[in-house]
Amino acid sequence: MIITLNGEKKQTPDNITVLGLLEFLNVQHQRVAVELNMEIVKKDVYGSTPVKEGDSLEVVSFMAGGCGAIGTIENWKLKNKDGLYYDGRQTDHCWH
């Protein structure tokens, strides 16, 4: 069957549970959180929650991040080439 997984169409086995899907995807389910059609699925019901044709799932985990959202590291470096990149020699701080 076809489901939408993290925003993309994905072919999966039929008659599968959330737990089965995570195993099929080879995702460590201890460190993830799952949303099925915009509703959070609690970990203790992964094994009893069926996934059906056309369902939309989000599988998220913790990734690198500080404040705000950035694209890839490459994007960030590019963005900062035009003088925004911190450079000790250019600094004009210490106004306090």
């Binding site: 997984l5 925003g7 500080g66 404040c67 959202a69 600094t91 210490c94």
Partner: protein, 259 residues
């Protein structure tokens, strides 16, 4: 300083420097920088798992949740709804009930949408999360957030990643006098002296990311930040001398030659 613990919602924090994990070259550098910083709290974002490239390493393989306190954030959320959804997912991942709530109001400045932040905080607190909100350095906002149950407030020093340092130390002071919860300066610091200043003012902790990750030598800057926090904290506790316009001699006049 080992007994100088920061306590938020009953959770003890051994370090007053909190660090983000974004913008590093790789996870190995992230790990080294965090170790050098001595930080115990590490912020992470909540993102879709890469299903296609499962071989990819995970940040938590490098940052052990048993050793560090993981602080999930809602970075990149522009609406209360998205921030609530992200925070709830973070809590469901099962590591912590702590969340650094941020609802961004504008792409260019990354200034927080305070109104949406307050709205999201209300919902998340009802859901049982420990909400640490990123907000403007606005004492009224801080008061409102504390009134609804935020156990700490995280005002910005300057725009995220700007490195401009503490732009309004007076507002931070007023916030500290207005609310009686820990104040964690979040975002905008650029170097060790900025961090020291925040701590000298009496702030309880500083959260930063870019100032370390964006430095030419992130590991060295991480170490500098560690000492910046310690120096500032000690100076705050020691109590600085008042500023005066004229000199005060520090050597006795008695016994000078020719007297």
């Amino acid at each position: 300083m080992t007994d100088d613990k920061l306590i938020i919602a009953g959770i003890e924090f051994n370090s007053r420097l909190w660090v983000g994990t974004g913008k590093y070259k790789d996870f190995a550098e992230t790990k080294k920088a965090i170790e050098a910083s001595g930080a115990e709290v590490v912020t992470v974002s909540v993102r879709r798992v890469n299903i296609i490239d499962k071989g990819k390493e995970n940040l938590l393989d490098y940052i052990d949740p048993k050793k560090y306190k993981i602080l999930p954030n809602t970075a990149g959320c522009y609406t209360a709804k998205d921030a609530i959804r992200t925070a709830m997912l973070a809590a469901e991942a099962g590591i912590t009930k702590l969340v650094k709530l941020e609802v961004i109001g504008d792409e260019k400045t990354l200034f927080p949408d305070n109104e949406a932040t307050l709205e999201a905080a209300k919902v998340l607190i009802k859901e049982g999360l420990i909400v640490l909100p990123y907000v403007s350095d606005d004492p009224i906002m801080a008061k409102k957030l504390v009134a609804i149950g935020c156990p700490a407030v995280m005002p910005l020093a300057a725009p995220i990643g700007s490195g401009l340092g503490i732009r309004n130390p007076y507002n931070l002071r007023i916030i500290m006098e207005t609310v009686k919860v820990p104040i964690i300066v979040d975002a905008g610091v650029g170097t060790a002296s900025d961090v020291a200043l925040a701590m000298e003012l009496g702030c309880d902790a500083v959260l930063l990311n870019t100032a370390i990750a964006g430095a030419k030598d992130p590991i060295l800057m991480a170490e500098a930040m560690k000492y910046g926090v310690l120096a500032g904290r000690l100076a705050f506790k020691a109590g600085r001398i008042p500023k005066k316009l004229y000199a005060t001699a520090s050597s006795p006049l008695d016994g000078m030659i020719g007297s």
